[in-house]
């Protein structure tokens, strides 16, 4: 796991852009989604849905526009990011449409389609308008202020399902906390890029641990604490876990100090213990995780986690097939937090592994861009954004599959929920931007000790 820190050879003059590959993959992604849509129709009504073609055309058009934006504005961007995002979004739409068939009075797919369009539009806007990710460096404090505002606003609104994370505007309900993730990542990247040396090499040592000076460390700690407090007030455990993980990873990457991990773990343990004892809401989540079948033994029927596990196990290796499962038994959160259970039941272990690997590929591509970039801000931003996705996927997938306690969080791109979808499209847009910069053949300046991207072998 150690990397050579030799001075890099001059980069290859002509790195392939791979936009053609992206287009082919996009076509495949759209086709897979349309096939899934058709499969649901064939299973449920023994006929291909009448609007299958228009669904394909719509998704294809969105993909094409996004592709064109990338082709024009970020020609060197990683060719995998956009197709995977389109595929995940397409599969998510199919799954939600499939669940809508069980709840005719409550259709979520059309809304999700609108949000998808909005997400892609935002993606295009970011790719087109943000010429260089380093522009964001100057907005660190602005974004953290915005993030805190976004997190505080929902406290004024009524709680939904025990969590105060929504604001309602007319018919729309928005989760501002979702957007705050990206803003916070931008802030952390900007702040740490400037201060990482100060954080690493100043301050006193206690018990062999290098502690940073308070002057540098205080702002970060303050902002982090404020955000965690807000989250506890809003009872949104998942997001607080995400911020925490993001904070630790970025701090570690910026400073290179393992002590951060240790301190983080101690803080996490303390925080978890405190919250677990103060919050009955959190406590019950932990109990559900430890004893998912307790409600059955008590004669109250299966709880959400038990129902979710039943769905996954019913899928087995190959799945029941789209439209043949009964994941709707999970109840009201089947389309949002538990969307993965539908994938697990109807696509089986095979489909689930494929989905996990798709997410892993996005994360890997983000990390790869981070490795190849030369400016600390860009590196930290890439790592931060990729880590947001990684942590989100782990926390929610682990939660619905009984690996860790369940925390309310949306499966990126799959789950019902406009805010999450749009946010993830912005994350992908930013990753496209940094990967374009990373793979661009004429770097402006090479920092010492930074590895220049290794040219991929043409496959």
């Amino acid at each position: 796991m150690t990397a050579p820190t030799v001075d890099a050879p001059p980069p290859e003059p002509c790195l392939p852009k791979r936009r053609g590959v992206e287009l082919v993959l996009l076509t495949a992604a759209v086709l897979i989604s349309v096939c899934g849509y058709a499969a649901v129709g064939l299973t449920k009504d023994a006929s291909v849905p009448a609007d299958a073609a228009s669904y394909g055309a719509g998704l294809g058009l969105l993909a094409l526009l996004a592709h064109l934006a990338v082709r024009v504005r970020a020609p060197y961007a990683d060719p995998l990011l956009l197709p995977i995002a389109v595929l995940l979004n397409g599969i998510g739409l199919v799954l939600i449409f499939r669940l809508d068939l069980e709840t005719p009075h409550d259709a979520a797919a059309p809304t999700q389609l609108v949000w998808s369009t909005f997400g892609v539009a935002l993606f295009i806007a970011v790719v087109v308008l943000l010429r260089d990710h380093r522009v964001l460096r100057g907005y660190g404090y602005l974004s953290v202020a915005a993030a805190l505002c976004l997190m505080i606003v929902p406290i004024l609104f009524p709680a939904v399902n025990g969590a105060k994370i929504w604001i309602r505007l007319g018919g729309l309900s928005i989760q501002p906390g979702e957007f705050a993730k990206v803003l916070l990542a931008v802030f952390f990247a900007a702040y740490l890029a400037v201060n990482h040396h100060a954080l690493s090499y100043t301050g006193r040592r206690i018990w062999g641990l290098q502690l940073p000076t308070m002057r540098v460390f205080a702002p970060i700690l303050a902002i982090w604490l404020i955000s965690v407090c807000v989250l506890i007030l809003e009872r949104d455990l998942g997001t607080s876990l995400l911020f925490f993980g993001l904070f630790i990873i970025m701090l570690y990457v910026a400073t290179g100090r393992g002590s951060w991990i240790a301190i983080g773990m101690v803080m996490a343990a303390f925080g978890a213990f405190a919250v677990g004892n103060l919050e009955p809401h959190v406590r019950s989540r932990v109990d559900d995780w430890l004893h998912p079948f307790a409600s059955i033994a008590a004669g109250e029927g299966a709880g959400q986690i038990a129902q979710s596990l039943f769905a996954f196990s019913a899928g087995g290796v190959l799945g029941t097939g789209l439209g043949m499962g009964h994941s709707i038994l999970i109840g009201f959160a089947a389309k949002s937090d538990f969307i993965l259970a539908t994938a697990g039941e109807e696509l089986g272990l095979a489909g689930l592994c494929a989905l996990f690997l798709l997410y892993a590929l996005i994360v890997e591509r983000g990390y790869r861009a981070g490795l190849a970039l030369r400016d600390p801000f860009g590196r930290l931003l890439a790592i931060g954004l990729a880590s947001i996705l990684a942590i989100q996927v782990f926390v929610i997938a682990g939660g619905v599959m009984g690996l860790i306690p369940l925390t309310g969080m949306a499966m990126p791109f799959l789950a019902q929920g406009g805010s999450s979808l749009v946010t993830n499209w912005v994350i992908v847009a930013l990753l496209i931007r940094v990967s374009d910069s990373a793979r661009r053949p004429h770097p402006e300046a090479v920092e010492p000790g930074v590895v220049v991207p290794v040219v991929e072998a043409a496959s």
Binding site: M1, V253, I296, H326, L349, V363, Y367, M401
Partner: protein, 485 residues
């Protein structure tokens, strides 16, 4: 920084491996225990996700399936529910299954492995075959005759074909419509509660699940034991029994309802239904002989299945002589299901060979191909041909000259035996009216049907309850229907 990024990436890889490993754990390793968890509704949803196979009478379905469009999609429906309830039982999404619906549930629901052409393939793909059908031995015309004969009065009818053991009719009255409790929700729950609350107990299958004192109808068993044991060698010889008969070891007198029973012959005693003669013969045969013969007829067999379990008919195997005397005329602790009494009649009609009663003729897959046929089998050899012949003569005389004249059918030989069983302590309850009989068309080689009818009508006058008056006309209608085929 680069090294840290690589390490962070390695952490993400660990998270991925944890997710993949956990997915395999839930979906493969623990799958079986999760799939069979009692709270997992999937097996139930699968079960009701397809129409249930049908129960056939005369090759026509008396059941159906109703598509409710709800989560448990197909609900059991019944054509002529009350008529066939004692045969079909119920198949309820809330309360489970009973009788044939229960005994052949695997075939009807499609879960039976024999329905699948390639069982291993079905295991792998987790598919379920369409439900198969169950053809019963019931004859609609006979069943209807019995049901409308009882006409809502409390009672039961069992009819079997003596030479095969095929059950031609099983009726319990008052009946209920099993379709009322097929589904889920308040309607089914309300109906269930109401049916269980009613004092008439419509859900009790009186034909095979209720036992009654058989009264004088049991005298056929006693007569068979007397002839088999040699206690009586000639049915037209005086038996030398006094009237009234003093129960052995007591000073209790046993009276007769009939005239001319003192020292009567066995044939007259059966014809006129003399208590004294048969009580005395029972004592003379002895406990061992009586219990042995009763056992051959099917009494004391708690393992009888048709394929549903039949309640155990009882003849005590440990009692004093006075109790034996009373038991021998179908009182004391002697009890019988209507099916058991039909078996008694059938054994006599079939020359002493009792065929095992059965209700299922064959099971079919959804294409109509036979999966399993029920072969006729012998339950026991109860008595010699000669004994059976003598009993047939005596039973025929009951109809031609005795208490069973209401059952006579022109163009057929009918043998019968009436019974009026005391009910309750000191005969305080309404007695039950019994009639057991068999019929053979004059041009037929063997008897077509053996019937047992019991009527327990609490609303009737006590004096009017007699096997001949109440039960014999019903038996006659049932036999006529059976003879028509």
């Amino acid at each position: 920084m680069t090294r840290c990024i690589r390490r962070a990436a390695a952490c993400c890889l660990l998270l991925l491996i944890a997710l993949l490993g956990n997915a395999a754990r839930v979906q493969v390793v623990q799958a079986d225990s999760l799939d069979t968890n009692q709270a997992n509704r999937r097996p139930v949803i699968t079960r009701y996700g397809q129409p249930r196979g049908n129960i056939l009478v005369d090759g026509k379905a008396v059941t159906g399936s109703k598509d409710t469009g709800e989560q448990l999609r197909f609900e059991r429906a019944y054509r002529d529910g009350p008529l066939y309830a004692p045969v079909t039982g119920y198949a309820s999404q809330t309360y489970g299954t009973a009788l044939v619906e229960n005994a052949e549930d695997g075939i009807l629901s499609g879960e039976d492995a024999r329905l699948a052409p390639f069982p291993l393939w079905n295991e792998l793909t987790r598919t379920q075959e369409p439900g198969g059908d169950v053809a019963t031995t019931i004859k609609a015309r006979v069943q209807e005759a019995a049901y409308y004969g009882l006409d809502g009065r409390r009672g039961a009818v069992a009819a079997v074909e003596p030479s095969t053991g095929r059950i031609l009719a099983l009726v319990s009255s008052p009946s209920y419509d099993p379709g009322q409790i097929s589904g889920t929700g308040p309607r089914a729950a309300g109906n269930w509660a109401k049916l269980n609350r009613l004092s008439s107990r419509p859900m009790l299958d009186r034909a095979i699940r209720e036992t009654y004192p058989p009264g004088s109808a049991f005298k056929i068993v006693t007569a068979a034991a007397a002839l088999e044991s040699g206690a009586v060698s000639d049915i037209d010889e005086d038996t030398g029994t006094p009237d009234p008969y003093i129960l052995p070891g007591t000073s209790t007198e046993l009276p007769n309802e009939a005239e001319g029973c003192a020292n009567a012959t066995l044939s007259y005693a059966i014809e006129a239904s003399c208590n004294t003669v048969l009580a005395g013969l029972g004592v003379r045969v002895g406990l061992g002989g009586m219990a042995g013969t009763a056992r051959k007829f099917g009494f004391n067999d708690s393992g009888l299945r048709i394929p549903s379990a039949v309640a155990r008919s009882n003849f005590d195997t440990d009692m004093s002589e006075d109790q034996l005397a009373l038991s021998s005329i179908g009182q004391f602790n002697t009890t019988a299901t209507p099916l058991q009494m039909a078996m008694v009649s059938a054994a006599v009609a079939n020359g002493g060979v009792l065929m095992r009663p059965h209700l299922i003729d064959r099971t079919l897959d959804h294409n109509g191909a036979t999966i399993r046929r029920t072969e006729d089998s012998t339950y026991s050899r109860v008595m010699d041909d000669s004994t059976a012949e003598q009993l047939q003569q005596m039973m025929a005389a009951v109809v031609t000259e005795g208490t069973g004249s209401n059952a006579a059918i022109p163009g057929a030989t009918v043998g019968g035996k009436t019974g009026t069983a005391q009910n309750g302590l000191h005969n305080s309850g309404t007695p039950y009216a019994w009639f057991i009989s068999w019929a053979q068309a004059d041009d037929a080689a063997r008897p077509a049907v053996a019937v047992a009818v019991v009527v327990e009508d609490a609303s009737a006058h006590r004096a009017d309850i007699s096997g001949g008056g109440f039960a014999a006309p019903i038996a006659k209608a049932v036999m006529e229907a059976a003879l028509e085929d």
